[in-house]
């Protein structure tokens, strides 16, 4: 994957992460996988483990069907396929924040079938009040106990420093996802996601160094301002950057996203509270909403904010096939967006992540339609 030189280290991370993580594991590093951004990575890190996001890889699913049905999202199928082919041998376990049914089931299937030492699902509260915060504190304590039994070491000082580090990482990433003066971001969509996803598979201290090096290279000669119809994309994970290319070829310019592999993961950058544990809790009860844990009505104003901030003129739902939380929100969000004058297109992706001719034509039609609306 050849990229501008300021991005090459991130692109290399993505292509070389498996071998690098495997080598680190051989040298004694303890990596823990997680599926979803509701997983408190700061806590895992403070316990002495390196959180690594489990990503699938677009491709053919075969072995995974011996454990799961075909009607679950491509991300989970591809991740399991990779695990069964030995692609995650560097992980010492998997930890998950409870979100959708598939991630919940997959965490348990993973525990049954992929050898490891530390497995945990955080049953996060759905509401924010003193009682759920108190409950969450006990839940985090229970995890710490489990992590210590698996060889981890925890202290509040370590948590403080993990929180600080992840907050700086998110703040840095956020500066790439939005312009300092409003309008379009400083990197184009593919570049933003290369950077963000490199962060999922890189130890955070190393990733922070990379981000700081990137910051020193600003301004970038990103092809962001080459024109195209500005659009917002919304969905869960996008694992194939070819999708961004296809959208740009269709005449769209992705100025913002509501993806859990992108912008959604960054907010809030930090929590607040009297101590590190309170700060951690505050962040996780205030996460930028995911459809598996909130109402479409809660998401709509945030989508409109993004649209207004970035000048997006349309919204493309880029959905993983069979993704219930997103599919279930689409009718209401579409109704609300259309009422607000925002054109909407729904694109469903399978595990190949190939944007075939029919999808390309639909995208082109959508972009032309938006373009025509201004005339």
């Amino acid at each position: 994957m050849s990229q501008p030189d300021y991005l090459q280290p991130f692109a290399d991370c993505l292509t070389q992460s498996s071998q690098r993580l495997f080598d680190q594991a051989e040298a004694g590093e303890k990596h823990i996988g997680y599926f979803c951004t509701y997983t408190p990575v700061e806590l895992i890190h403070a316990c002495g483990f390196v959180p690594i996001r489990i990503m699938g890889e677009p491709g053919v699913v075969e072995q995974a069907y011996s454990l799961v049905p075909d009607f679950i999202c491509p991300f989970m199928k591809c991740a399991l396929e990779k695990a069964l082919n030995g692609g995650f041998k560097y992980l010492k376990g998997a930890v998950q924040g409870y979100t959708c049914d598939v991630s919940c089931g997959m965490a348990n299937i993973w525990k049954e079938n992929i050898p490891g030492e530390l497995y945990h699902t955080f049953p996060l509260p759905y509401t924010d009040a003193p009682a759920p915060r108190d409950y969450l504190q006990k839940e985090f304590q229970a995890f710490i106990h489990k992590a210590e039994q698996a060889g981890g070491e925890f202290s509040l000082e370590r948590l403080q420093s993990s929180l600080d580090m992840y907050a700086v990482i998110r703040r840095n990433l956020l500066s790439l996802f939005q312009s300092e003066k409003g309008g379009a971001p400083v990197l184009n969509a593919q570049e933003r996601h290369i950077v963000a996803q490199a962060g999922y598979v890189t130890p955070p201290d190393l990733f922070l160094e990379m981000l700081e090096a990137l910051e020193s290279r600003k301004p970038f000669d990103s092809p962001e301002n080459q024109g195209g119809i500005p659009v917002l994309i919304s969905g869960s994970l996008v694992e194939s950057f070819g999708v961004f290319d296809a959208m740009e070829k269709a005449g769209a310019r992705i100025v913002a996203d509501d993806l859990c592999s992108g912008y959604r993961n960054l907010l809030p950058v930090d929590g607040s509270g009297s101590g590190p544990m309170e700060r951690l809790i505050d962040r996780y009860v205030n996460r930028f909403p995911c459809p598996s844990r909130c109402r479409a009505e809660d998401r709509f104003p945030l989508l409109m904010d993004r649209i207004e901030q970035t000048g997006a003129r349309g919204l493309v739902f880029l959905i993983q096939k069979f993704c219930t939380p997103h599919l279930a929100d689409i009718p209401e969000l579409t109704r609300l967006l259309k009422a607000a004058g925002i054109p909407v297109l729904v694109v469903e992706m399978d595990e190949s992540w190939r944007m075939g001719g029919q999808l390309q034509t639909r995208l082109e039609g959508f972009v032309e339609m938006i373009d025509g609306m201004s005339g």
């Binding site: 348990n108 079938n113 279930a328």
Partner: protein, 416 residues
Amino acid sequence: MEKSKKSTKRLAAAKELNKAVGEYYLECAAAKEQGKPVGWMPPMNGAIELFYAMDLQPVFPENWSPVCAAFGLTPKNFEVSEGMGYSRDLCGYLRNIVGYVNGPMTDPAIPLGGLPAPDLLISPGGGCVPVMKIFHALERRFPEAKVFKADLPQVALEEIAPHHVDYAIQEMQRLIDFLEKATGRKLDQDRLREVVVLSDQACALWDEIMSFRRTIPAPFSAAEIGIMFVMVTRQGTRQAIDFLIKARDEIKERAESGTGVIEEEKLRLFWDNIPLWYNMGLFNYFEKANAVVVAETYSAAWSIRLDPADPIKALAMKSLMSYPLVSCVSIEKRKEMVLKACREYAIDGVVFHRNKSCVPISLGQMDIKKALEEELGIPSVIFDADHMDARNFSTAQFQVRIDAFLEMLAEKKSQV
């Protein structure tokens, strides 16, 4: 073989069931007319007992879906929800109930009088995503209803710790406060204890009824599993107890007299996942090979005993345990439960319904299948279908797979 077929029933309790279903829905309609607050809620949680203790009317949209399937209302409901933009890949319960409330609900010709509009919505945080999304859609459809935004930790049974229980108890108390404020009715603790005693008695009776199916030949099959209707809708009431006692007496008599479902029961089957509500006749299909479905996962969710000494805690525990017990939240416990049932019910083979409308139950089936083979040597078969949407069920695939499976089981048994 037909895509939709009612089951052949042998129990006199089946007639009682029709009566019980009719009475329940009439009671729901009457409650509305009499000004009794009506609350819609998901099943399998402790809110039901609270409602009966406070003389409120609980309504279960999920349970309405099998009724729609039985009366052939589902295609129309699907047409409405799919027209609204709901994908065919979504759970059939979701598409059915969203379609119903946005379409035929106002039709006066709806069987059983339909569902009365809710005054209260117990909107879950936790449980499966489709049920959560059903309630979000109901909040939109009934904006005048008062909404309780529930919150329940989703924990595997083996991981439930005191802080989960404490939080579930606090949530139960929050629900009580909401109901008291919303309805102006005070919860009487003595009345709640009575309701919890009745609910626990219903669970004990349910366990007893299920235990008679260990008898060979089994006194009734999954074709009659509709009798669990009272466990879904009437937990904590005298009506449930009366219905279950009658059913228990009849089933006990059949078990003691050796009266089976069919003349010569040769194979005993276990069924995993929700039945095909539009084709309960499927359970009779096995009978042509002298096979009877004598146990199933779904009916186990109603066996959670309640301790009346601490009613609120008992209801909190029920809420915590019911959904994980039958879903992918607790694959390990579910596996244990299926294996235990297979030993106790002398199961020869297991039928896995890989259900496009229920991901949480379909996930984990392959691990259970593997354990059945490795630990008990029990063969199993998987077929693809959908508990609500007949368009996702191929009779040809079902027949080919099941016929071959039954043949293999018969052959295996003849060699013993």
